[in-house]
Amino acid sequence: MMAMASPYLSEQTSVSMIMRKVLLALVPGIAAYVWVYGSGILVSLLLASVTALVSEAVMLKLRGRPLRPFLLDGSALVTAWLLALALPPIAPWWLVVVGTLFAIVVAKQLYGGLGYNPFNPAMVGYAVLLISFPVAMTQWPAPLELAQAKLSLLDQLRYIFGRVLPSGLTVDAISSATPLDTLKTQLKLHHGMADIMAAPMFGTLGTKGGEIVAGAYLLGGVYLLWQRIITWHVPVAFLGMLALLASGCHLIDADRYAGPLFHLFSGAAMLCAFFIATDPVSGPTTPKGKLIFGAGIGILTWVIRTWGGYPDGVAFAVLLMNICVPLIDAYTQPRVFGHEK
């Protein structure tokens, strides 16, 4: 049967193709991640993927929806990967599983599945974990080159699944506060920016190691732009606004406010700019709306990082802006052909 009515032609494209390209674009970031932090992240990715697919299948079954098209569309995998990449790579297994379950079951399927979720599922999962298990969420491993002790893959597996460390090692030996966290605490102790930044965990652009991963995400983002999976509006508005606020305040008081490059290349800023904030389902659709949405995330991220209670504000910034999407869309309708503005 050909199409019921014209057009009878269609471009060779599909939802699963878009999702596959997003996954592909994440590969450089994952590779950099493994190189910097070790292969523990692969375990998280696998855990999240399996959890996402199984929970998606169960929910589809319960909701009486066809399994094949929705499991193969790849959207659950994208959510799983984004969440896993946002979590600490040595997080206990149940943290990954609980987060993914919440993202898929509540944030996605209970709202109606693919295309119907008003909030970014990965960020909902992340926010729930951050509020519920703050300690586990802040246990980040130090980059390999700074770590006092290097864990083998087997040791990492033991730690992830059993919280068992090789004898003689403590948690503090393998984990450290993140640079954003350190910055916040140190600033509270009235240390100067230059002193803080002198610590080894801070790199040339952002944070040691983290900046390499961020650079790899940027590379993936360029690929997505080239493939026209995403448009430039959200990343440019988000990163631009973040950089603008950071440089403005940095110029006023360089001792209290970190510079723009540090903000761009630390935390989840790059991941968010190209992979999270660009989620079409929970974002606005008009070009102007995308600019407002991106800029809003930029402002909120900077505000939360600078004055908020959490070291990184990307997840909350995205969720808060998700709430505004219908309003943004309604007020940024472009001028239709043949109409006055």
């Binding site: 049967m1 199409a3 009515a5």
Partner: protein, 538 residues
């Protein structure tokens, strides 16, 4: 001199598939024995039949006259006999039948008297009227009566006349071939149109994938005295839409709900200009057109086809269709529609016939939910938000759809073309549009009914008061007699009796006055029927 071209929002680049049919010259087809001519081949009122079954008509003779201003005449494409005036399947997307005149060709192909029109010595209104009687309509596919667009309106003088040779839809090459082969005639038609409209500037817009056609048109312009500029526009679907072409060439946007003439522009298809020339200079009304036959046929190409010829006969002329086809598309693959039957006739709107097969137009996968990727909005030439319109149409929230400018949608199909979820977006818009139109009509009908009901109630009230006044007067005089009432009732009763008798008498109507053999046949059938009924009962 056009110095700068403008851009319209969006657009797509579907595979062109024009090479298959553009290579060979326009071919004639043998006159078929039977022609079916729908009375509704144009936008506007249905033409009024002027002939009766059994009439012999000549080629070019008017068979149906235009009814009102927005209407067009229908003419005989060959000489022959009118054998039927009845409902037949027509090439319409509904697949419903409509009134048609069927003509049996006599093979002589004898013309009526043809005379060129000395249009420069005539009143312009008379020329317009002559064109109205000639059945000239927009031959790009829209079929809007051309004479309506050629009336010079003092309120909106037309300064710019645009000939549309963009032909942006894939597969279609009839305008391309026409421009290559008959450029002089097209320019001549343009000259007549420019004269009628007093246009100051004439432009021909041709997409840059047709360099030969543009060259031919430029040569023809150089030969004629008319100052015409042939402009190559970028190949981008739907750049051939009238509003889009006007925007590209002039930078002006036709305001929503308005006509191009209101901003001083008028746009015609090149084939329409050719038809105007044929009528004015040769006295030939519109009885044929160029049709591209392509897709899975043996020898794709362009044909000069008499209107009313069956599509299947035309496809035979192109060498026949491949065995794996699953239907014929009339128009292009982006905006055309699947014909309800291969036996429907070629009409004035038939610019292209595509023999469609699954490998040419692969079946669409089942639609997935909309992921709001807004690719549809990126390609929409009207700069609409198709994903929003889709929600409103799907949830039958028609008021909201209208607020989001549903009626500015030109149904070009770009949104469906790029949708990664394979949602038939245009289908939803068509559905919503026709529902809204039907609701508006129902509303109008309801308003009319309300008004008539109120008038009636007012009338009854008035009559009651008058009666009361009369009664009051009569009460003074004599008592009314009831005898008159009784007499009236008796008359009604008698009439009822008569009607009952009549009903009984007229029931078997169609079997009266038959020859004895037929009567006997009927008796036999009745016997068999009662026998069958008996058997059924058992």
């Amino acid at each position: 001199m056009i110095e700068k071209l403008f851009k319209f929002h969006g657009g797509v680049h579907p595979p062109e598939h024009k090479a298959e049919s553009a290579a060979t010259p326009i071919r004639p087809v043998p006159m078929p024995a039977r022609l079916v001519l729908p009375l509704r081949q144009h936008i506007g009122n249905v033409a009024k039949v002027k002939v009766a079954v059994g009439d012999h008509v000549l080629k070019g003779q008017q068979l149906a006259a235009p009814e009102g201003m927005i209407s067009a005449a229908v003419h005989a494409p060959t000489s022959g006999t009118v054998v039927a005036i009845d409902e037949q399947l027509i090439p319409h997307v509904s697949g419903l039948p409509d009134l048609c005149i069927t003509l049996q060709a006599d093979g002589e192909d004898r013309w009526i008297e043809r005379e060129p029109l000395d249009y420069e010595d005539m009143e312009k209104t008379a020329v317009i009227e002559a064109l109205r009687q000639a059945g000239v309509v927009g031959l790009g596919g829209a079929t809007f009566p051309t004479h309506v667009k050629l009336r010079a309106d003092p309120r909106h003088p037309v300064k710019t006349l645009i000939l549309n040779g963009a032909e942006c839809e894939p597969f279609i090459t009839c305008d391309d071939r026409l421009m290559r082969e008959r450029a002089d005639e097209i320019i001549r038609g343009l000259q007549i149109m420019a004269y009628l409209l007093d246009a100051e500037c004439c432009l021909v817009g041709i997409e840059d994938n047709k360099p030969e056609a543009a060259q031919a048109m430029r040569t023809a312009c150089a030969r004629s005295a008319v100052p015409v500029e042939v402009v190559l526009v970028p190949t981008l679907y739907p750049g051939g839409g009238a509003k889009q072409l006007i925007k590209v060439l002039t930078g002006w946007e036709v305001p929503s709900g308005k006509l191009p003439s209101e901003i001083g522009v008028q746009c015609f298809n090149v084939a329409t200009a050719y038809a105007v020339h044929r009528f004015i200079d040769h006295g030939e009304p519109v009885i044929s057109r160029i049709v591209t036959v392509t897709g899975k046929v043996a020898r794709p190409g362009n044909f000069e086809v008499p209107l009313g010829m069956a599509i299947e006969t035309l496809v035979q002329a192109a060498g026949g269709a491949a065995p794996d086809i699953d239907g014929f598309i009339m128009g292009g693959p982006m905006m055309g529609f699947k014909l309800p039957s291969p036996r429907v006739p070629v009409v004035k709107a038939t610019n292209c016939i595509i023999a469609a097969s699954p490998d040419l137009f692969p079946p669409q996968p089942l639609p997935m939910p909309c992921i709001r990727c807004a690719r549809c909005a990126d390609v929409c030439p009207a700069n609409l938000q198709p994903q929003e319109l889709y929600w409103f149409a799907k949830s039958q929230n028609f008021e909201k759809a209208r607020d989001y400018h549903l009626f500015d949608c030109i149904e070009c199909g770009c949104c469906s073309y790029v949708c990664p979820s394979h949602i038939p977006l245009v289908q939803y818009y068509r559905y919503a549009k026709s529902e809204i139109i039907a609701l508006d009509r129902a509303k109008q009908a309801a308003n009319l009914a309300r008004e008539r009901n109120q008038l009636r109630l007012a009338r009854i009230e008035r009559e009651k008061q008058e009666r009361q006044a009369r009664h009051a007067q009569k009460a003074m005089g004599a008592k009314t007699d009831t005898a008159a009432d009784e007499a009236k009732k008796a008359i009604i009763a008698a009439a009822i009796e008569r009607a009952k008798a009549q009903k009984a008498a007229v029931t078997p109507q169609n079997t009266d006055h038959l020859p004895p053999e037929a009567q006997a046949e009927i008796a036999r059938i009745e016997a068999r029927r009662s026998q069958a009924m008996e058997q059924q009962k058992e």
